[in-house]
């Protein structure tokens, strides 16, 4: 049975190893799609609608086409089409410079017949709201109702009840590198695209289909990627159109989205509103849960969220609807449906615990069936100093008040089939590992090097890793669902083991030992039963000559496992005069199985916490009902955490087994709930709407006083 071996035997796996691309990234040497410049390259721009809902009456490209320097103009909407949200693509341009392209799209004349728009959920759900989807009746989807147990019977057993409404607004992904591509046709049948994507093979297959090309004649390259968070699968409208512009002009074309377009059309996390009534028994058992909720994913659906979450409620009824609005579509965003669901559930847990007169941590212990989280509660409580927590929320006269809160989460991350990889040992002793996954910033490149280096007794820097290129024809899936490491690592491990086995078979006769007795370490192959029999790595490989070893691997399920639990504790300080919330510390205890690179895993947890903090305290998309436009499609009024917001983060890699599990998403889940509960504990006033901004705190404190 395949295994990763014992921790005591690991020289590299599970240790803290700096990422191989770190120096290139901080010095600017690393080339992102934005940095790709090809000889003779043109610049692409897309004209987008500023109107949220309209019929297209006319499009006139002639002035744009006549502008010197413009090489191609293509129309994306047709007369008679409907514009259904701000930012929808109307036409695209390729020009000699980016400035000319920008000027050119402003010369495209668009005649729109404006229709009444609906951009807020309240407006969409109002009586007599304009119908905005042809395939729905009204602006709400059919309810998704689920029932389990006996709800009325459950409430009959409840000693306490809480009824409350929790809300999380739409968030956008805010990828630091916006979506975009550079497309270049070698000839009419061969296309190369540098893409800012989470899935090079997905983009390849989409473009091959779009342009009716054999898949092996489209090459997609993503050497470095500046953030996707679930929004960068597939080439998108901009990817297909830039390839079209490149084909028409016969020149490479670069087209990256503007920051504004990124907010408008490149995806978002749907909103969540839930009206929930829940009860618990006198001895602290969750007994009944009745939830009616809605959310919007824009003009599309997909606004699901987890409710109830993590904690077990035997008797429950949930009813969810999607609300359609004239706004750009949602896309998967880091743990879709989880952080907002966790915020509501963990807030509810604290409200019930308070009514029971129970410590919220004790209440969780009673209702959490996860043994892993039970252990995490103990560890996290110690790390944050839970005993220091206010016993009476909001107590005291201090202007700045401190509080603590806890939140929980769960995720899968067990990986899947579909990765091909090769590990090659060259006769000079160098090693190459190639696979079609992509490093979206998580450090899979380094993880691959670590696995191969561990197997061969080499250093990670000795391994040349090629990822993010469909050219070698070794497919791998998209990097989403926290699946990358658990999908790729087993294949790399088995490929490296197979290559090592081949090398041992070649060397064993010389060492006069059975193949099974050979081991490698410290750049030396030796015989385990007779340590005097050794051969240096390079001397062994030198005998390969032209006949280098190159082996594939397989996805051995024994090497990975899905399912993780996480718990976070937050300590905050609230300025009751200004409403400012300062997070002092977050303790993030994250179950993760075997951490191939502990440093990268900690970094992943830090990133999740920071993103969760942004959702808790800062991020919100503002839609203007009057104009139908997003008011903060920038980074001035769409606020994300900066250095001043980052607290002390204690990232605890909670290894529960020695099988690989992904943790890309889960660390962002418990943060908003933990912070919201800490704010309540500090000031004794509950904020049930994210983000928890000064206006909400001051308003709530004023209401409490009144």
């Amino acid at each position: 049975m395949a295994s990763w071996g014992e921790a005591s035997e690991s020289r590299l796996i599970g240790k803290r190893i700096p990422r191989l691309s770190g120096r290139d990234k901080v010095t600017g040497k690393a080339k992102y799609t934005f940095d790709i410049n090809r000889p003779g390259m043109l610049y692409g721009r897309i004209l987008r609608s500023e109107v949220a809902h309209a019929n297209v009456v006319g499009v006139d490209l002639s002035e744009a086409e006549a502008l010197p320097g413009v090489k191609a103009v293509i129309q994306i909407v047709e007369v008679g089409n409907k514009i259904r949200y701000q930012g929808q693509e109307i036409a695209a341009v390729a020009a000699e410079t980016d400035d000319i392209a920008k000027d050119a799209i402003r010369l495209i004349r668009v005649d729109l017949e404006e229709l009444p728009h609906v951009v807020t959920e309240a407006d969409a759900m109002a009586e007599g709201a304009p119908q905005i989807r042809d395939d729905w009746t009204g602006n709400q989807s059919n309810p998704n109702v689920r029932e389990e147990g006996d709800l009325a019977g459950g409430f009959a057993q409840a000693a306490v009840e809480v009824e409350a409404t929790y809300h999380a607004p739409v968030q956008t992904h805010v990828c630091l590198e916006t979506h975009g591509n550079v497309a270049e046709w070698e000839d009419e049948q061969n296309l190369t695209v540098w893409a800012s994507t989470q899935g090079v093979f997905g983009v390849r297959n989409d473009l091959a289909g779009s342009f009716n090309l054999p898949a092996n004649q489209v090459r997609v390259i993503t050497e470095h990627m500046g953030g996707g968070f679930g929004s960068k699968f597939g080439p998108g409208v901009e990817g297909r159109r830039v390839a079209e512009l490149a084909r028409i002009t016969g020149r490479p074309v670069k087209l990256m989205l503007t920051r504004k377009a990124e907010h408008l059309v490149a995806g978002n996390r749907p909103s969540m509103t839930q009206h929930v009534r829940a009860g618990a028994t006198g001895d602290g058992r969750l007994i009944a849960y009745d939830m009616k909720g809605h959310g919007t994913g824009g003009i599309s659906s997909g606004a699901g969220f987890q409710a109830p979450y993590v904690y077990h409620v035997p008797n429950r009824r949930t009813e969810r609807v999607n609300v359609a609005v004239n706004v750009g579509n949602q896309r998967a965003m880091r743990a879709p449906g989880h952080p907002q669901g966790a915020f509501a559930m963990d807030s509810l847990m604290d409200e019930l615990a308070e009514k029971l007169g129970m410590n919220p941590l004790e209440f969780r212990r009673i209702n959490d069936t996860s043994e892993v989280r039970q252990a995490q509660y103990t560890l996290g409580a110690q790390e944050i100093g839970w005993h220091r927590r206010n016993s009476v929320p909001g107590a005291g006269k201090a202007v700045k008040k401190r509080g603590m809160g806890v939140g929980s989460g769960q995720w899968g991350g067990g990986g899947g089939r579909g990765t091909q990889a090769r590990v090659t040992i060259n006769s000079d002793g160098t090693v190459e590992a190639v696979t079609g996954t992509q490093d979206i910033g998580t450090g899979i490149r380094t993880a691959i090097a670590i696995i191969v280096a561990e197997e061969f007794g080499l250093a990670p820097t000795d391994i040349r890793v090629t990822v993010g290129d469909s050219g070698p024809g070794l497919p791998s899936g998209g990097s989403g669902g926290s699946q990358t490491t658990a999908s790729v690592a087993p294949v790399i491990k088995t490929a490296a083991a197979a290559a090592k086995q081949k090398l041992f078979e070649r060397i064993a006769p010389q060492l006069n030992a059975p193949v099974g007795d050979l081991r490698v370490g410290n750049r030396t192959i030796y015989v385990v039963s007779d340590r005097t029999k050794t051969i240096k790595w390079e001397l062994a490989t030198g005998q390969l000559g032209m006949d280098s070893i190159s082996e594939g691997g397989e996805w051995d399920e024994e090497l990975r496992q899905g399912g993780v639990a996480g718990t976070q504790f937050a300590e905050v300080e609230v300025d009751t005069e200004t409403g400012a919330v300062r997070v002092i510390k977050i303790v993030a205890v994250q179950d993760c199985g075997l951490a191939i690179n502990r440093l990268a895993t900690e970094s992943q947890i830090n990133g999740g916490v920071i993103m969760g903090l942004g959702q808790a305290l800062l991020e919100e998309r503002f839609m203007d009902a009057q104009t139908g436009r997003m008011l903060n499609a920038n980074l001035e009024d769409y606020k994300v955490p900066g250095t001043f917001e980052i607290p002390e983060i204690k990232s605890i890699v909670f290894d529960t087994h020695r099988k690989v599990t992904g943790v890309g998403e889960p660390p962002c889940i418990p943060t908003p709930g933990a912070i919201a509960n800490a704010v309540y504990n500090a000031i004794g006033v509950r904020i049930r709407e994210l983000p928890i901004t000064p206006d909400k705190i001051l308003t709530a404190l004023a209401e409490k006083k009144a």
Binding site: E50, E577, T578, G579, A580, L618, F622, D624, A625, Q626, T627, R629, L631, N632, E636, D637, K639, P641, G642, T643, F644, E645, T693, P694, D695, K696, L698, T699, A702
Partner: protein, 326 residues
């Protein structure tokens, strides 16, 4: 942005001559450009000519002596924030300057630009929204999303003035030197700013052919304590939800004179004579400071989303007053 020609300034005479008769928006001045470039990129402004003021010699000087402070309009926000005399004797100004945006912006943004910057209103900054401030019919904040808008002096345009330096300088009694085709004039900075009721399109009385060249600050009085308190949603960069520039002349815990100017709550830096009256001549304690805050906002008229600014402003004023007693 639209194409424009770019002229390096050689003298103030040349600048005012180039500005003459063009009206607003045709010829514009650029120094740090931290505000203007954003407006050009968003097509909120589309000038034909930009005059680069950075080539004017000597206009970035900061002089501090017994007669007070003289700060050239081209002095950067960072120069002001780190000037030792300003830090020591004009604390409110150093604190205000230090609170502006980010180090990168402070390093290039200038005093003149900071005072003359345009509103950050999200309706005003959107090219497609033809709001009252841009000659349209309505101020969209009235029925729209108004979290960051004015609670005082708004009617009919509810922008807030974004400057941090202006409230601090007004609280210090600063004057402004302006040069036009007819020569130079000096006015109190407080009188430089105007409200939308007087002119919905501009935030100050500067004429299209005039240029701000210098700020003068009278000498600091002894026993003065001054503070700039700025509330915002994130550490940096962020504009003020509300800010208070306060200069107190103290005798022990008794306030001999007070100067309280608010930022982020009105279309112009807002001098609160009510707060000043509530504090002047009083022994400052919790009750007095709270009264000063309450008096300052008694005429506030919040919109749908910004009533919190009333409480916030009130609290910042009383906090500043209490800080003067310790």
């Amino acid at each position: 942005m639209e194409k424009f020609s770019y002229v390096n300034a050689t003298s103030l005479e040349q600048v005012t001559a180039l500005l003459s008769d063009s009206g607003w928006g045709e010829v514009m001045l650029i120094a740090g450009g931290t505000d203007l470039l954003a407006e050009l990129k968003e097509y909120v402004e589309t000038p034909k000519t930009l005059i680069n003021l950075k080539t004017l010699p000597g206009m970035d000087a900061i002089e501090a002596d017994a007669s007070g402070l003289k700060i050239g309009a081209l002095a950067t926000v960072a120069d002001i924030a780190r000037h030792p005399t300003i830090q020591q004797h004009y604390t409110v100004l150093a604190q205000a300057a230090g609170s502006v945006a980010t180090p990168q912006i402070r390093n290039v943004g200038t005093l003149g630009g900071n005072l003359c910057q345009r509103p950050r209103c999200w309706y005003y900054r959107d090219e497609s929204t033809h709001c009252l401030k841009k000659g349209g019919d309505i101020c969209y904040a009235v029925d729209g999303l108004s979290k960051y808008h004015a609670i005082l002096g708004g009617d009919p345009v509810y922008i807030v003035h974004p400057s941090d330096l202006a409230p601090a300088l007004i609280a210090l009694g600063a004057s402004l030197k302006i040069v036009g085709p007819e020569g130079e004039k000096t006015m109190l900075l407080e009188e430089f700013f105007t409200l939308p009721a007087a002119n919905p399109f501009r935030e100050n009385v500067l004429e299209p052919n005039e240029i701000v060249v210098e700020v003068q600050v009278p000498p600091a009085k002894p026993n003065t304590k001054s503070f700039y308190l700025k509330a915002r949603e994130k550490g940096a960069p962020d504009f003020a939800l509300a800010s208070v520039a306060a200069v107190f002349e103290m005798d022990g815990k008794t306030c001999k004179s007070a100067s309280v100017v608010l930022g982020g709550v009105a279309p112009a830096p807002w001098r609160s004579t009510e707060a000043e009256a509530a504090l002047t001549g009083k022994m400052v304690d919790d009750t007095v400071s709270k009264q000063a805050g309450a008096d300052a906002v008694k005429d506030a008229q919040p919109l749908n989303d910004n009533a919190y600014k009333v409480t916030l402003t009130q609290n910042l004023i009383s906090r500043a007053a209490m800080m003067a007693t310790s």
